[in-house]
């Protein structure tokens, strides 16, 4: 499956699940570029890729909230990433074949280390963190790791419906 298709499908789902036609911060072009980078960081195997699990939704939401301070880094970083992709692959990152996407993202890591470090951290947060923030859809990464979901509750050695004896 071509990377562009995977990312596109995930993005559509991302928007729909939020019940809005638009992103909070990103524009569609930026969202596609970002999805392609996220999916190199966590590609699909028998479990979904980062963007399939909601990475772009997570990052976009936080750029409108807790990560407002990183907006400029994303705006400039994504623009730079596109330039790099056109230079190395001849097309926009999300349109490039998988192999070229890997090469472009490798180049982004080298040439834009601060931006890449940010995207890497945020992608991991989205995928392995709590689903309530828009990533890790249906707790998919936790299932992947073999963790009980929903988690096991009430394993106390004592029945605490009885409360403490006072």
């Amino acid at each position: 499956m071509a990377g562009g298709v995977v990312a596109g499908a995930a993005l559509a789902a991302g928007c729909a699940s939020r019940g809005r036609g638009n992103w909070d911060f990103l524009n569609d072009g930026q969202a596609h570029t970002l999805a392609a980078i996220c999916d190199q960081i966590i590609p699909a195997d028998d479990f979904p890729s980062a963007s399939q699990a909601g990475a772009v939704t997570y990052i976009d939401r936080q750029l409108a909230r807790h990560y407002r301070r990183h907006r400029e880094a994303y705006r400039a970083g994504l623009e730079q990433a596109e330039l790099l992709s056109r230079k190395l692959a001849g097309v926009s990152l999300s349109q490039a074949p998988q192999k070229s996407q890997f090469e472009v993202v490798t180049a982004i890591e080298k040439e834009q280390p601060a931006f890449f470090a940010l995207v890497r951290s945020h992608t991991f947060e989205s995928f392995y963190g709590n689903p309530r923030h828009g990533g890790n859809r249906d707790a998919v990464s936790w299932r992947m790791l073999g963790l009980d979901e929903p988690p096991v509750r009430g394993r106390a050695q004592y029945d605490f419906t009885k409360g403490a004896q006072s």
Partner: protein, 550 residues
């Protein structure tokens, strides 16, 4: 506002205990807390926003908005940092302070920890000192903290345990899988492993039920209220006396001083942001080491132009925390059993007595690992991203064990909190500027501790291991912050006396981790609690009804 006997600043580990002890003795108390009171129902078990992983903020304060600090890095560059960034060195801001969400390891320091300088000599360039109190002085108050706040565990297997008069009030939680893997290995190495002490109910205690062993513990509030902090023990008792009023969402601005040089109360911003005064006979500062120092430094007056208690430029110096070191072991079988709190087994064999090292440290397995913690704990040769990283997460999340511990930190006078000349908080008050690092010998101790952790993991069957720790470029004084208002007999080299009373102003007390002369090779909170009981005891004893006995 009505004048009271005592103002206590900060409703954390120490402040909660002080408020209770004074209120029970009949003194009238106002307990100030800049944060809110969260209940177990507020704990959203959010992997990205709690008090340990704070990428999306601190669940239990302070907010990123309006509470900056400045960190000076090793190259001397100053950075404005937010509470959700690690270099901010946060603990917490809520009723309970750190004790609402802590991991709750409940360590006593060892007798040698109070006599480090006379046991080992001070490494050149360090500010290592002996405490003016001994372990024996503190022992009864450790006992009081263990019984009143509630500690489970069992020290009996270790001959290195500090002298004690009775066992802990609660048995340990049953062993988890890591305990079962690590215990026989430690014994084969000739070590003395034991179920570590925890401020956590293993059985019903203090009218609350026991731990239900969930995945989200360290950094989170306990949803079944089985974790024991000041917010569910001493503070309710203090309020129940009718002598103590808790004022939340109220930030104390400064300690007010009269023209005779004695404190007359505090000024504070109330919950609607208005500046108010609360007059009192005494003031107790328990705001946690960094904020306590800042509050004293911000309390400038004609008689104390450099801040309160700071005549000899000692306030804010000797900032310490802990250099955490250890190792990760990777196994060919599952080690993970999803049973909180996770940390379960420790050894004290390495705290003292290694030739060439000034102390050492306790080693224990880590709190339960959330997936987000594993991202940077995959084997070292794993690519930093891509399919191989994802597969390493799958391969190792349930097949690894982390052993680490707080390395005895050797203090320096240059690791310190000062007031930033430019950056202000939401109230217009100068913020804490943190600079300097611990003494380099700390890292030598840490390196040895890592090797020891590695050896333990290998003996337990790890197929390979990697060390954690290294040489951090800046001081690590967040959750374990201490040392900034050192206790001592000499007013020129310390800030408070053995009763936690300022050398300079006899009706102002600093009672929290600030007074630690060194921070031991253990997590600090039980010692902070014991000191709070001890200092309160002296305070109540010296109280005459309207002032202090001289």
């Amino acid at each position: 506002m009505k004048r009271v006997n005592a103002v206590v600043v900060g409703a954390g580990a120490a402040g909660g205990i002080v408020a209770k002890q004074l209120a029970v003795s009949g003194m009238s108390v106002v307990l100030f807390e800049r944060g809110k009171w969260y209940t177990p129902a507020d704990c959203r078990k959010d992997d990205l926003r709690n008090q340990r992983t704070t990428v999306l903020g601190n669940a239990f304060g302070p907010e990123d908005e309006g509470n900056p600090r400045v960190l000076v890095d090793a190259a001397g560059n100053a950075h404005v940092v937010l509470p959700s960034e690690g270099s901010y060195q946060n603990n917490a801001a809520c009723v309970g302070g750190g004790t609402l969400s802590y991991g709750a390891q409940a360590w006593r320091y060892m007798p040698q920890d109070f006599r480090l300088k006379s046991t080992y000599g001070a490494p050149p360039g360090s500010s290592l000192e002996d405490w003016p109190i001994s372990y024996d002085d503190l022992e009864p108050f450790y006992d009081q903290a263990e019984y009143e706040i509630g500690v489970s565990g069992d020290y009996s297997p270790t001959p290195f345990r500090s002298p004690r008069k009775r066992p802990l009030p609660m048995p340990p939680l049953p062993a988890n899988r890591e305990f079962e893997i690590l215990e026989p290995a430690a014994k084969r190495l000739g070590l003395h492993p034991f179920p570590l002490p925890m401020l956590r109910n293993s059985v019903p205690y203090n009218d609350r039920g026991p731990c239900m062993r969930c995945r989200w513990c360290c950094g989170f509030a306990c949803e079944v209220d089985a974790k024991n902090g000041s917010q569910n023990t001493v503070i309710p008792i203090a309020l129940g006396t009718g002598n103590c009023e808790l004022r939340m969402s109220s930030t104390v601005k400064e300690v007010l001083v009269d023209d005779k040089g004695r404190a007359r109360g505090v000024s504070y911003f109330d919950e609607s942001g208005h500046l108010q005064e609360q007059l009192s006979d005494i003031v107790v500062v328990s705001a946690c080491a960094i904020e306590s120092a800042r509050l004293l430094l911000n309390s400038k007056s004609r008689l104390f132009p450099n801040g309160l208690g700071n005549r000899y430029d000692q306030v804010g110096r000797n900032l310490q925390g802990h250099h955490y070191t250890g190792a990760v072991g990777y196994f060919d079988h599952d080690t993970y059993d999803d049973m909180g709190p996770g940390a379960s087994i420790a050894v004290m064999d390495y705290n003292h007595g290694t030739p060439g090292l000034v102390g050492g440290g306790m080693l224990a397995n880590e709190f339960i690992r959330l997936p987000i913690h594993m991202v940077d704990r995959v084997p070292k040769d794993t690519p930093r991203w891509g399919l191989a990283h994802k597969q390493a997460m799958r391969a190792w999340h349930k097949r690894s064990i982390v052993i680490m511990g707080p390395t005895q930190q050797i203090p320096t006078a240059d690791a310190r909190v000062i007031l930033d000349p430019a950056v202000k908080d939401q109230w217009g008050l100068p913020v804490a500027r943190i600079q300097g690092n611990c003494h380099p010998h700390t890292f030598e101790i840490g390196a040895v501790q890592s090797q020891r952790a590695e050896a333990w993991l290998k003996e337990a069957g790890a197929i390979f291991t990697s060390r954690t720790g290294g040489k951090p470029a800046t001081i690590s004084a967040g959750q374990h912050q201490a040392g900034t208002c050192r206790m001592g007999n000499d007013p020129q080299s310390s800030v408070v006396n053995r009763n936690c009373q300022l050398h300079d102003v006899d009706n102002v007390f600093v009672i929290d981790g600030s007074v630690h002369v060194n921070n031991g090779g253990f997590n600090p909170v039980l010692t902070i609690m014991a000191i709070a009981y001890m200092a309160s005891d002296a305070l109540v004893h010296n109280w005459k009804g309207t002032g202090l006995r001289s």
